[in-house]
Symmetry: D4
Subunit: 248 residues, 8 copies
């Protein structure tokens, strides 16, 4: 609740336009909708500039569909991540225009156009196996109104593949770099560009990769500057943050 | 074996009401029933105020049913946790009034009324995916004679949802706060209430959540006071302890 | 800020006793005092029933003394933990009645009497080396108005030592059990009493103790019920929570 | 290769009963049989007093059957551990007298009687879920010629169950104590008996049990004396070592 | 080496202004100065927009002074981090205008004015003990031409302290949030603002903090969006990235 | 891009055989083929002496087949690792001469003969369960033109089995030693030979093996000299490096 | 408290030799002496065959001396471990015949002769740096009445050094094998002897030794049979257990 | 003991030049010298081609000097690693020509010339702080008869510094690459050269570096081929192995 809202409420109380009890109502349960199993943060777009996003993991198909059903009563674009096909079919029943991205495992429902800035986001992957995470980042950034350019499979074992794309990459306003195994690619990229690098470790690899831990630690301890890191496999978080920076 | 019991035994021996050998019998195998695969602690309610609870994981359906069959010979309410549907069907054969809670994965068998104090326990979850653990806590607290109030999906990404419920939450005598991922909600709650907070980390999350480890560590290192922590996903332990405190 | 406060503010605005701007002032910076390097939560006693406590680690002697100097302008008892002797000497300069407990490494300044309930807290240690952590818990509970009874060095290698004290221990309203190494004592105690057990792992031990990790994990995974756990060596947290429960 | 063997070889060479080349042959490939996928240590019984045991995990049914087929050409009793039912059926084809223990997941083939000492091994479990590991230990100790006595489900949450069996337990020559979760039982037992305790952590538990890690660390850091530890779920290792000690 | 540089070289070769061998020289050792123990990246400002920064840890006073001596031959501002007082005294000998920040443990040498944008960076700390890391971030951001506003000690145990400053915080273009222990503050902030949040875990805490690991994991697994994380105690990295974003 | 290539380009520009723009083209995208989902490093053989190898994990059958289809347009031998049977069937459709090794889980396609040096590589396993990893190493070394000799199941529990083969093993030019569990075999071998030992930890084992971690740590901390380690289960990496050393 | 003691008490009560209250006294505080900071288990020798041992770490010199002072009132031999020189000097004041072993860091006070069995314990170390831990084991075994034979520095990098001593080692009744780094020596020994092997990991090593963790894991996952493990650097525990086995 | 030695012994026994007992003597204690605290492997050069090296950590100055004193009775060059200045002074007393390298912390004593092959070893470091580890590798390789070329401070934050040296680096026969933090440099180098890369993680870094763990994991999971890894900070191991490969 912002200072402005409080100020307005106080003024209306003072002017007698609102009784104390009416004003009090604004302080209870504002900005959320309780569905029993979920409590939707309807206030989020006002507060953070972005509507609430549905994180599908650990939710039943019915729960996801129920949340989307409520969100359809409001004008925002809708994004749901970590969605399996069973859940998608359930959502289709209540919303035939829902689009499923099989690689990214996302549902998107476009309800209004968002102006897209001319600057773009580069999303770079070290290997082919990193594609699902990169795609989640791309879908996220796109539905929030950004142009995304993908650069695929340019990992450090053949670093000249990155060099070939560098002039193009350097035109982006922010970079998302997705890598598993040793996770060295973000360090290399950050040493070559002058824009923020969002590093996304992936659980790609085996043995001492420990489910993405080696990539995560490598990115956190990078000797290059201008890098920050999100959770392992968190394509959504990277795409969201990239959008935030690209649209500054 | 309490001092009082020993005192009484000694007195009866002294008075000749009991031979030495008869008295000795009370010192062997008292308070337990050996089923071969399990050794039921029939002495527990006297000792700790609560009857033994069946932890279902790692037990076969036959073993769970066998233990319940024995416990039905005694007057206590019965609670079994971590029960799958196959086991429940087996139990139904010997006890048709057994109730299965599918979300909490518990069996409860109500055999006697327990007086419920007027104070209540609040059980608060950060997200929808934390519901199964919260429900295990709620079922546990209820069968041990407590009023439980649930507050769902008020995690820190939209903390005003918690604020909306705060006046109500503050009326509870003890709080169970269930959260996965970064596990920050118990810290927030403990900074706002004046009653004990039992924090339950859940395995909800992915990547650097490491199966609930991040939430666990976050709760243990909380900068707020009045918090203690139980094992990851241990809804039963939290509900049990909350009952103990609520009924003090 | 409670609902009641808001209600009162709104009423005064409505009645013209407060201008909007005056009321607005109450929404900025209430309940805290900014010292530049610290922001003291003066609102905490109202909100949680306990005044703010000073955590000394990582603070310079000057910072600790400065915070205490401000707190002396208010009527509460003062507790500072993790205090070394250099800091204590600094504090003595501004507050000669400050008391230093060398084992617990605490400063206490008694400013007002707090009524002590008749029930008491038992603080039990597994070994002699666990004493400093237990003493921190005891000092904390005492300054917040509790009777504390200490039971020392009754670890599981000679468990009859615990049995000897059991009838006395069982009279407490809540138990704090402090143990390092394998941390088994809280499990044993919880299996023998009918009141909440707060388990405190200590960093006592070597090798596979890993700085208290083995005791911590052992306590979290206890097969006994009625236990919850605080951070390694967190005597303060245990004493605070025990006080909260004892004074329910 | 023992000193005695070498001495005999040297004497025969000296006496001309063996040519140098014949003697040399004894230094290559003695005491093993190469099956291509396995290299059976036929020398082990002479060297360590026990024949080689087949560890079934990671071996195909054909490999296990092939190894057993070879071992049947020799007079020893045969033990195979970590055997699933598919493998057992394969073994039955070549050896109809093979016995499968479903709980312990072992195959045993008795080929000769081993004299059993009068002393016995106690195998104690904390809970019902620890039975498979305990049974693996029992089967192992039995086939190597030992009397085993099982004491089941006497964990620390109801420690009087252990006390009831203590006079009997104390008659054993060596104890195997099997426990998951916090793994406290071996500490308790070791504090009450005067014989070696072999502690076996199990992967029973969830959350902060981390697959048996908490029990393992608890046993390693035990404050009691006379305990040593084997790998998580290693019933075989415990049974083997107990046999070695019982038969000293 | 940018495309433009190559293009220019190629053109000069084509025009005969450069021989092939002369041009080749530009491809060897360009953009670095080898001091024997260090290889200074003089090309970095052109490539990434920022000059090389000296990381002092693990370098002798002589090495740090030697690197600074070389950098003084060039016109950039100079920043050295993780500097102890001994090293600072050594540097003073060759550069009397070097400024040492004792809290941040940095040396700064201002050589030219950098235009400062009107937008600002907020640097927020959870506690007093987080100040050194926050100060390193602030010094870094300032020398790279940014206005920084500090908000101190507003951790989640008394979250209303944050709320009091929120209207001001919300005016920043990017946020650096520094916290140890459970590291929950960045999640709270990110749920309340609409600009990027750079989370910095600190090693403040004890026990299950494991040197900052708990804060790190908590930040990585945050349920809020718009957060990314840098290494534990990496104030420099956060200040650098914040500058990059603020100056976009 | 080597110095020679640049030199030649520069010369051609100088001589007017190439325009600047034509030459520039050589600096973009040289040595790789972009398939959309993969970016094949066609430059690798020139640069490192070995063609790119396909790592199958995390790639769809279609992706693997597509990459192989492209590689068939070039003359190199082809190796794909971590291939399941479904993928193999897909590859068979486009390349009937592809050979699948079921144990090693590799596809090999022999397109040209490579001269094999007279020296050989020994590949030694501690147990039968280590065979798949050893076989991946063997297939890799063979397709890159090496003679491989396998020594199977000579682990330290019966170390005389190793001694029997030692004279033969000592004739190899480089050793690959594959072991799970405690991973002690490479230490033993390295203490007995005078050639490099490449140690490969495997995920064979259970409990405190932690998926190969115990073997990995054991090999890294070996007290013997001449050992280096590759990732857990990384038979390919060991075979590749052994080939590199054998062919020096 | 054994069954016999209870039986005797009951008989005396029955015969009127003891009043109920007198008998009750035997059930409180038997077998321990409370010194305020320590609670000495005077009952232990009766119960486990061994008197209590003083673990010096975390105890002040005064506490150690106080405990020894009490123990001198009883007839047992005294052993204190992890003792620094300052503590030793304090103990000397009250007990001039106390002997300090500088390498093992133990105090021993011989008060009575214990008959020594003819069988002996071998204590074997992998390297010179393992000597302090081995010496703690040796001192412990010796004061409890055992012959100890030391075999030093026969680690796996030169395994023939072990073979040279093997005929002698094989005459021992139980083996203590002490090793750091990869901890492979116990596996080798266990594969060559027919008696129990107690493995002691040491914190000798660096890097991936992680304070003894690599040796610990290696010993726990040993592929040899007849091994069990004690805590890192726990020479006392190994010596104690070896004595228990040797004196069976 | 090689086959040849055994053959010769057998022949001499056969020919009567050796009695059986005389021959037997060769099978006991051959190839080692027992100093009480150390058991020097005098047989190692014959067996592995290299004399024993003294690892100084955990040894007293007297022990190191004693071992060197014995080794001076033999003709080999002597290398001792992890030596502090106090130990060096002790060694100087018995061997004035001992040379101390302060950065590498090694003692070398040159006793005979070793022929140096024409090929060389490149030792490459990511940063200035990696120099001590690199120097230990260099000293080791040099005393075993190799030419070493050092390339310093070419880490991935400014990767063009590596490119500048690449043509020279590519002439080496084997590469040692030393890096802390994220440890990405070996991956880059291995992608650019056609010779074996020995990766050495260092403990340089802070926070999520966890004492070199992040670099270690990054190197183990490298996506490039031709890399193997030694222990954290193990310059000696890398230099030793590089020598072995260079001298193949």
């Amino acid at each position: 609740m912002t200072r402005e809202t409080i100020e307005k409420l106080l003024s209306e109380v003072k002017d007698g336009n609102l009784t104390v009890n009416q004003a009090l109502e604004h302080f209870r349960d504002f900005g959320s909708k309780d569905l029993g199993y979920a409590n939707i943060d309807t206030h989020r777009e006002l507060r953070t500039g972005y509507p609430e996003v549905i994180y599908g993991q650990g939710k039943t198909p019915d729960q996801v569909a129920g949340i989307i059903e409520f969100m359809l009563t409001r004008p925002h674009n809708i994004l749901a991540t970590r969605i399996n096909e069973e859940t998608y079919l359930k959502v289709l029943e209540i919303c035939p225009e829902a689009v499923y991205n099989k690689i990214a495992r996302t549902i998107t429902i476009l309800r209004k156009e968002i102006p897209v800035p001319s600057s773009f986001i580069s999303i770079i992957t070290a290997g082919t196996s990193d594609l699902p995470v990169a795609e989640e980042a791309a879908v996220t950034a796109e539905i929030f109104g950004n142009r995304v350019e993908r650069v695929v499979d340019v990992g450090v074992a053949g670093i000249h593949r990155l060099y070939g794309k560098l002039p193009f990459i350097r035109q982006a306003r922010v970079h998302v770099v997705v890598a598993g195994m040793e996770g060295a690619l973000p360090s290399i990229v950050a040493g070559l560009v002058d824009k923020p690098v969002i590093a996304v470790p992936t659980s790609v690899g085996y043995g001492a990769s420990f489910g993405g831990l080696s990539a995560l630690l490598g990115m956190l301890t990078s000797c290059a500057s201008g890098i920050s890191v999100v959770n392992i496999d968190n394509g959504f978080g990277a795409g969201f943050l990239a959008s935030m920076i690209n649209r500054l």
